[in-house]
Structures are given as structure tokens and as C-alpha cells.
């Protein structure tokens, strides 16, 4: 009996992951192209991202990774093609409706992009204000989000007083404030050290597992992609080279003690491990 239920669940999961056409998808791009001046950033890309997935996008510089991600909330408006997110065709929405839709698509960036003149609290609260979140409940919602990323005691600090990892946590809290269905991550750990990277990936994993948010993550770092994604799209020259399923393996936290550095530096031929 239990076996049957389990089998059904597994079949359902496989169906969800593999069935691109019949629902269960969160983001669907169809023949999307974008050109900057003379540079064709992405060429007729079609991609479906399923609900609940952590989807990686990897590729060399200039492969079109960021453009592909930024098309998903129309931060970059495609020249051609359809963008569908959470059941809405973004490409055919009015400006007003598009703004509304963007409130349920969170986004975080390599440079965090916090408002430096706002406190941590205000940075998260502004996201609620934009969505006309009931004023009386704002305080508790902001604090819930800050607790989720472990920064509840930082609410009155300014971004300049935080480390890179803490800034990215604030950015995640801000992106989560309006309970989005999707979180778009543009090189979220590329300006962080390896330990902080592992920390942020842990937070993103929680966002996915505990809150059920679909995550799309762009990175040029293989460790990041391998450490967290279920499925990865490899881009080359603006086109999809391949899409592969992987088993996420948590990246190990790298030792940063001075002894480790000395050992690594003096160990012949093992530098590439570092």
C-alpha cells in the first residue's frame, strides 16, 4: 500500500519535472531573441522551467546568461518571442499589469543593489509599500523575512555597515517580502568569498524547499551550479547547447585558515584544487 503511494508520488514528480507542455511549468520562453546594437545576445531560445525547480544557467562570458534571466521579468524586453511566467504572458501585458506581475517575481543581483540610504528594514519594507501591503502588517512581515535570512537583529543598520553576504541576505529578504512564486538570481554569489557563497546557497535552498519558490540562478561558477541546481541549461553564443538534470551536491565549505593557504601554496601541482 505504502509502496503504491510512494510509486505514485515518484511518478507524479517525474511527470512534473519532465512534462514541459501540460502545465506545472512556472516559466516558459518561446523563441526569445534579443539583440544589443550589433550583438545578438540570445537567439531564438525556448526554455521551460518547472514549478519548484532550482534551474541553473551556465555559460561563458557573453553567452547570454544574464540576458536570458533578465528576459524572464522583462527587465530586458525581447525583440521577438513569448515570455510566460506563472500563467501570465508578460510580453502581452500592459505596463500596469506587468508591474503587478513583477511583484510576484523576486530578483537578486551580483551587486545586491540595495538602497544605501535606507536601513535594512526600510529596504525590505519598500518592496511591501510598492505592493500596497497593509500598513499595519508591514512591520511583522518585514521581521519575518529578516528572520528567514537570519538578520532580524540588523534591521536598523545601513547596507554600508554589512558584509557582502549580509547584503545579499537583505536582498533575498527584500525579494521574498511579497511572497513571490519565482526568484531570479543574477550571479548572486559572484562577488562573495567561497564560505559566504556556501552560506547564500544554503539560504536559497531554504527558499526553495521551505517556501516552494521556483529559483532560476545564473552563474559562471561551476561549484554554485553543481551545489544547488536540479537542472542546468548550458548556453553558448546565445543558444542552448544542452539542458541536463543533475543531483545537487552541497559544495563543501572551503578552509580559509592561514595554514591551509600555506599548505596549498607549497603542495606541488595541487594548486588547481584550491
Amino acid at each position: 500500500m505504502t509502496g503504491h503511494v510512494l510509486k505514485a508520488i515518484i511518478e507524479f514528480a517525474v511527470f512534473t519535472l519532465q512534462n514541459d507542455e501540460r502545465g506545472f511549468f512556472m516559466i516558459k520562453l518561446q523563441n526569445v531573441s534579443k539583440k544589443f546594437l550589433n550583438f545578438q545576445a540570445i537567439k531564438s531560445v525556448s526554455l521551460t522551467i518547472n514549478q519548484g525547480e532550482i534551474h541553473g544557467i551556465i555559460g561563458a562570458s557573453g553567452a547570454g546568461k544574464s540576458t536570458l534571466l533578465r528576459v524572464m521579468n522583462l527587465l530586458e524586453i525581447p525583440d521577438e518571442g513569448e515570455v510566460e511566467v506563472n500563467g501570465h504572458h508578460l510580453t502581452s501585458l500592459s505596463n500596469k499589469d506587468l508591474r503587478q506581475e513583477r511583484k510576484s517575481i523576486g530578483m537578486i543581483f551580483q551587486q545586491f543593489n540595495l538602497v544605501a540610504n535606507k536601513t535594512v528594514y526600510e529596504n525590505v519594507a519598500v518592496s511591501l509599500q510598492l505592493a500596497n501591503f497593509p500598513r499595519k502588517e508591514q512591520r511583522s512581515r518585514v521581521m519575518t523575512c529578516l528572520e528567514f535570512v537570519g538578520l532580524e537583529s540588523f534591521s536598523e543598520k545601513y547596507p554600508a555597515q554589512l558584509s557582502g553576504g549580509e547584503k545579499q541576505r537583505v536582498a533575498i529578504a527584500r525579494a521574498l517580502a511579497n511572497s513571490p512564486r519565482v526568484l531570479l538570481c543574477d550571479e548572486p554569489t559572484s562577488s562573495l568569498d567561497p564560505n559566504t557563497t556556501a552560506e547564500i546557497l544554503g539560504v536559497l535552498e531554504n527558499v526553495n524547499k521551505k517556501l516552494g519558490v521556483t529559483i532560476v540562478i545564473v552563474s559562471h561558477e561551476m561549484d554554485v551550479i553543481k551545489g544547488i541546481c536540479n537542472r542546468v541549461t548550458v548556453l553558448a553564443n546565445g543558444e542552448i547547447y544542452d539542458t541536463v538534470f543533475i543531483e545537487p551536491r552541497r559544495i563543501h565549505i572551503i578552509d580559509h585558515s592561514p595554514r591551509y593557504f600555506v599548505e596549498k601554496l607549497t603542495a606541488d601541482g595541487e594548486m588547481s584544487d584550491a
Binding site: L75, R99, Q111, N117
Partner: protein, 220 residues
Amino acid sequence: MPEIVIQYQAEILSSIGETFVMVGVSILAAVLLGLPVGTFLFLLRKGQVLENRFAFSTVNLLVNIIRSFPFLLLVVFLIPFTRFVIGTAIGTAAATVPLAIIAIAHYSRLVEQALLDVPKGVMEAAISMGASVNEIIVKFLYVEARSGLVLGLTTSIISFISYSTIMGVVGGGGIGDFAIRYGYQQFKTDLMIYMIMIMVILVQLIQFIGTTVSRLIDKR
């Protein structure tokens, strides 16, 4: 207090009052109209949310033309317009018209510069959160650029004081006009020097306030 200053106390006080009126109107014009014009200059640029090459070029050209006039010529040139708006081209009220116009052009340029210092990523974050143009301006741009906006206004106010000193040509009065008429033209050099000292103190005070405020509100 020096005897000569006491002797002309009434005239000095009223000329200080006139300067305050002229500079005050300039500040109002700068904040109420220069700030929006400068914001448009920024938002109409390429790659910004209201990108519009034609509108940008038009506003940009207009601001440049106003700023290229030697100010004395602008005052004379605007006499018909001033007469149309105020009913007369002579007096302190009439003097505020050309001052307001140069104030708008002057401050709008400094606003544009201050807004250009806001990191592009902050704008992107605002857009990705679904902010409207008004929300981007009020909740992001002005918040992030506020110390630059204050410093720019400080620079502008000091220029307005300088501009106001030549308004004697249309009977605008003010400290500068008093210094010229009583100090220079009536050979009371000491009186002129006292007037210059008042101006120096005024400018020092404004710059000090401006710098302090901009530092206090800058959390970057």
C-alpha cells in the same frame, strides 16, 4: 558697530530683505520646477525609464540656452516677459522673474548630475520590484541621491545670491545694489567693504549648513 553702518541701518536692512526675497523666490523656483526639470533630464536619457531622444534634446537645449546668456543680458532680454507676468519690469518683484528662470536652469543641471550618480543597479532593482516611474523617483532616486541634491542646491543658492547682486539694473535692490550705489558710486569704500563682508558671512553660513546636512543624510 561702525558708525557708517548705523547711519545707513534702515537702508542696509531693507536691502538685505530684498536680497532674501530674490534669493528665496529663486530657491522656490529651483526646488518646485528645477528639481522636476532635472529629473526629466535624467529620466529622458538613453537607457532610462522615460528614454526619449527628442524630448531630451529639447529640454537639454533649452537649459543650455538659458545658461549661456550672460545673466545681465538675460535680465534685459526677459523684460517684455517680466512685464507680461508681473505687470511691470521694475522693482524687486519684477527682478524675481529672470532670477527664477536662471534658477530652474541652474539647479536642473545639478539635479541631473546628482541623479547620474545613483547606481544603475538600484534603478534595476526598483523596476524588478514593479515600481512605477513615480515610485522609482520618490522611493529610490531621490533617496539615493539626496546628499547630492542638497549639495547641488547649496551651490545653486550661492549662485543665486551672486545673480541677485546685479538686479539693481531693473530696480531690484538688494545688498549688491546697495554696495554699488552707496559704496562705489558715492565713494564710501568702507561701506562697500562692510557689504561684501555681509555677503561673505552669508555664503559661508549657507555652505556650512549645506555641507553639514548633506553629510548627515548620507549613509552610503
